[in-house]
């Protein structure tokens, strides 16, 4: 009885306190602006749609189209369920928070009550998901958005419960030594047998398969199978909630509702009646989730780190900021699942050997395609590489106090933090550009060799400037708004607004920052072109544009250094 009284209190108080805490933060203009941006987004994309007149205008949805949509939804749900059974983990996927484990698992509460609590809590996000799907699809598909909302809730809830039950069953079997690879194969065999039986039935009952690729004939064939025989019975648990969602009038809704409810309740009862001890798996799951959250507070969601040998030893004396560069290079070495740099070096070497061996004849088309791909990838790395290579202030966000205590000036810390990812991104793009040139070095290429050389050299000059500018921009954001850039999982309108503002602000600053370099580079290109240098003007243009970018980067690093020195990490 205690938990039934405590659970609503816990849920409502948590919600109330979260809202109050966010409201209190509105005193800070930074959060006020973020909340306003988030509310604007929610209004534009959600509420405005919801508040529009209820019933859709125009002719009702054609029955065939509705059936096709229902069929697609059923196939999607079936795919999720089958992959849950076959590919899912052998650990019960009930995620309790650490406080829930401390207070509920150790409290005077039966395990069944704990399970009820979690399952009912799971249905709350289902409610939110069903509102979102209703906002986007309900008005167009259902006779009434409310029908679609109820049907979505029943369908999404039933799938979620079923997957939970499946994970608990699998874990139970695994703990009893009955669910390994062999039993996965057995599961697949059962599914295969069912599908084979269905195919046999289909060929028996409707032997005339449509000829050729006639979509209408195939659709009619699929519809006939879908609506008759064993398939209709087998798919009924998936169809029942969909029929609620897609009901076109009140009577259809009321007819479909009991079936949809039955599916949800049956799945709920199945999970509850499971005799499997879920506690241990839940504790492990929650601990690993807490570690992920803790890790995410310092940077992007990160892969598992292994102590791969780094091999680069640092002397005890010399410029101290080099220690930060070295530290971040070690991070790159250990965080990348694939050895990116060795892979790129290997690729370039192989390309060189290949090119040299093929130079005697015409350059084949596939080599030109590969050259274009490498060049495109190089450009992509120059622009997006700094965003992905988050081994700078983003990763060290949780260690800002350590960085603050180091005997380094702010400028040294900023330089040290940025140099590591910069070097890696530049090396990667240079190798890709070099690979592109090597692949297109042979005879028979439309562009003259001089053009290929000029374009490659220009890209190699300009790329690092762009990468440095993007890297500085991202890290300046971290130092200016550490709480906003933090990758700790955050929810709510304010967090949504923060993400929007960060993205939009970043793009604006990047465009403004690149503008002077574009003007200078463009001016040099036009001037030298006018003087008769032709495409050769691209090289000095890229050089000047890159110089302007590096000048901006230098000024920004000095500013960021001062910002870092003044940064109060407690605020």
């Amino acid at each position: 009885m205690g938990l039934w009284a405590a659970a609503p209190f816990l849920i409502t108080t948590t919600l109330k306190n979260r809202v109050l805490a966010q409201a209190r933060r509105l005193k800070n203009p930074k959060y006020l602006v973020a909340t306003a941006a988030g509310l604007f987004y929610v209004w534009t994309f959600f509420l405005r749609r919801l508040l529009m007149p209820g019933k859709r205008e125009g002719a009702p949805f054609p029955q065939e189209a509705l059936l096709a949509i229902e069929g697609l939804m059923v196939v999607g749900a079936l795919g999720i369920i089958i992959s849950g059974w076959v590919l899912g983990s052998n650990r019960a996927a009930l995620r309790y928070t650490e406080p829930e484990i401390q207070f509920l698992f150790a409290g005077p509460v039966s395990r069944r009550q704990v399970l009820h609590f979690k399952l009912l809590r799971m249905l709350l996000p289902t409610l939110v998901s069903s509102v979102i799907t209703t906002v986007f699809f309900g008005r167009a598909l259902a006779g009434n958005p409310l029908f679609f909302g109820v049907g979505s809730f029943l369908g999404i809830g039933a799938i979620g419960l079923h997957l939970t039950g499946a994970s608990m069953t699998r874990e139970s079997l695994a703990q009893h030594g009955r669910y390994g690879l062999r039993h996965r194969v057995v599961t697949l065999a059962v599914i295969g047998a069912v599908l084979g039986g269905l195919a046999w039935w289909a060929l028996q009952s409707r032997p005339e398969l449509p000829q050729g690729l006639q979509p209408k004939a195939w659709a009619a064939y699929a519809r006939a199978l879908y609506e008759s025989g064993p398939l209709r019975i087998l798919l009924w648990p998936l169809r029942a909630p969909m029929e609620v969602a897609l009901a076109q009038d009140l009577s259809g809704f009321l007819q479909a509702l009991p079936g949809g409810l039955l599916v949800l309740v049956a799945n709920y009862l199945w999970v509850i009646s499971s005799d499997h001890a879920f506690e241990e798996a839940s504790v492990q799951y929650s601990e690993s989730w807490a570690r992920k959250v803790e890790a995410a507070r310092g940077g992007k969601q990160r892969p598992v780190i292994s102590a791969k040998p780094f091999g680069l030893k640092l002397r005890g004396t010399g410029r101290p900021e080099t220690a930060l560069v070295w530290k971040n290079l070690a991070a790159v070495r250990r965080l990348l699942r694939l050895g990116l740099v060795p892979a790129l070096l290997g690729m370039t070497g192989a390309t060189a050997v290949l090119t040299l061996s093929l130079l005697r004849g015409e350059t084949p088309d596939w080599m030109l395609a590969a050259a274009a791909l490498a060049a495109g990838l190089g450009a992509l790395v120059a622009l997006v590489g700094p965003t992905s290579m988050a081994v700078d202030f983003r990763r060290d966000l949780q260690n800002l106090d350590v960085l603050k205590s180091l005997p380094l000036t702010g400028r040294q810390v900023v330089l040290g933090e940025l140099a590591g990812p910069f070097l890696v991104v530049v090396l990667a793009q240079w190798l890709l550009f070099a690979a592109a040139l090597l692949l297109a070095l042979g005879p028979g290429v439309a562009l003259p060799l001089s053009t290929r050389l000029i374009v490659t050299a220009s890209a190699m000059l300009l790329g690092p400037g762009i990468s440095a500018a993007v890297l500085v921009l991202i890290n300046a954001g971290v130092l200016l708004f550490p709480a906003w850039v933090s990758n700790e999982p955050r929810r709510g309108i304010e967090a949504m607004g923060q993400r929007m503002l960060t993205l939009a602000g970043g793009l604006v600053v990047l465009l403004v920052g690149i503008l002077p370099a574009t003007l200078v580079g463009g001016g040099v290109f036009l001037l030298l072109g006018w003087l008769g240098l032709g495409l050769g003007a691209l090289l000095p243009a890229a050089l000047f544009a890159s110089a302007v970018l590096f000048l901006e980067v230098t000024v920004s690093v000095v500013g960021m250094g001062r910002l870092f020195e003044r940064l109060d990490i407690t605020e």
Binding site: A295, I305, S306, A307, F310, K313, L314, R315, G316, T317, G318, P320, T322, A323, W326, K327, A330, A331, R334, L335, D396, Q398, N399, D401, V402, K404, S405, L406, P407, L408, T409, E565, R566, D568, I569, T570, E571
Partner: protein, 251 residues
């Protein structure tokens, strides 16, 4: 010529908006001296230590470390100190030995390898030197943090609850290690709720409450300040007396 103190703090104040976390705090620590920093929860101990380590900027006041003004010359000042927080802060992607290598370069320690070997042996981390922090227990992480702090032989050591997570043997070794550093001339400011540790190790004790200094001196001087009867009154009794008499505010 007046000898330079390892740590001189004059009028240190730290405000968070309207909240005064540390208020007009003044004290000094001489080379070779161990000063204990004690106070109830929320007294401002950690805020004070973080200000002294240059992690958070003080709102007002002067902090001099081995003669260097921490605000005006932060790099020179920080080079002389080691700050060991209660929660070890390590880089998840550097191994134990690499942490020491990293620290050596930051503090320009040419002979870091023999020093690192000695510290690893002293703290029983030799067989863990190729492990990442995620592979270490809480106590081992604390030991690694301590090893990094001691590598460059700092002249001022700031310790925030240094024994957290250590096993009994580790605690004994840590106490010996702190005392040895002081004997070698380092100044130590040690914040702890373990009053027996403070009483055992420290030459003087600084008691703060509500962000203000409420008592400072040797045990005898504090006993005299509060008029405690009997020479054997423990720090715990004095602490209770001081903090309850002052209601958490300065004397």
């Amino acid at each position: 010529m007046t000898p330079v103190g390892a740590l001189e703090v004059v009028g240190l104040t730290k405000m968070y908006g309207d909240l005064r976390a540390v208020s007009n705090l003044s004290f000094e620590v001489a080379p070779g001296e161990i000063v204990g920093l004690v106070g109830p929860n929320g007294a401002g101990k950690t805020t004070s230590l973080r200000s002294l380590a240059g992690i958070i900027p003080p709102t007002r006041g002067e902090i001099r470390i081995c003669g260097h003004d921490l605000v005006a010359h932060p790099v020179a000042a920080k080079r002389e100190l080691a700050f060991l927080p209660d929660e070890p802060r390590l880089f998840e992607y550097l191994t134990v030995r690499e942490h020491l290598n990293f620290t050596a370069r930051l503090y320009n320690v040419a002979d870091w390898e023999p020093r690192a070997d000695a510290l690893l042996a002293e703290l029983e981390l030799t067989d863990k030197q190729d492990k990442l922090p995620s592979e270490l227990s809480r106590g081992m992480k604390q030991k690694l943090s301590i090893a990094c702090g001691f590598l460059h032989s700092p002249r001022l050591v700031l310790l925030d609850e240094p024994l957290t997570g250590l096993d009994p043997l580790g605690i004994r070794k840590m106490k010996r290690s702190i005392a040895q550093r002081a004997e070698d001339g380092a100044a130590v400011l040690l914040s702890s709720h373990l009053l027996s540790l403070v009483e055992e190790l420290c030459h003087r004790v600084l008691v703060i409450a509500g962000g203000e200094r409420v008592a400072f001196g040797s045990m005898e001087e504090i006993r005299a300040q509060v008029g405690a009867a009997g020479a054997g009154t423990s720090l715990e009794d004095l602490f209770v007396q001081i903090t309850s008499v002052n209601g958490g505010r300065g004397a």
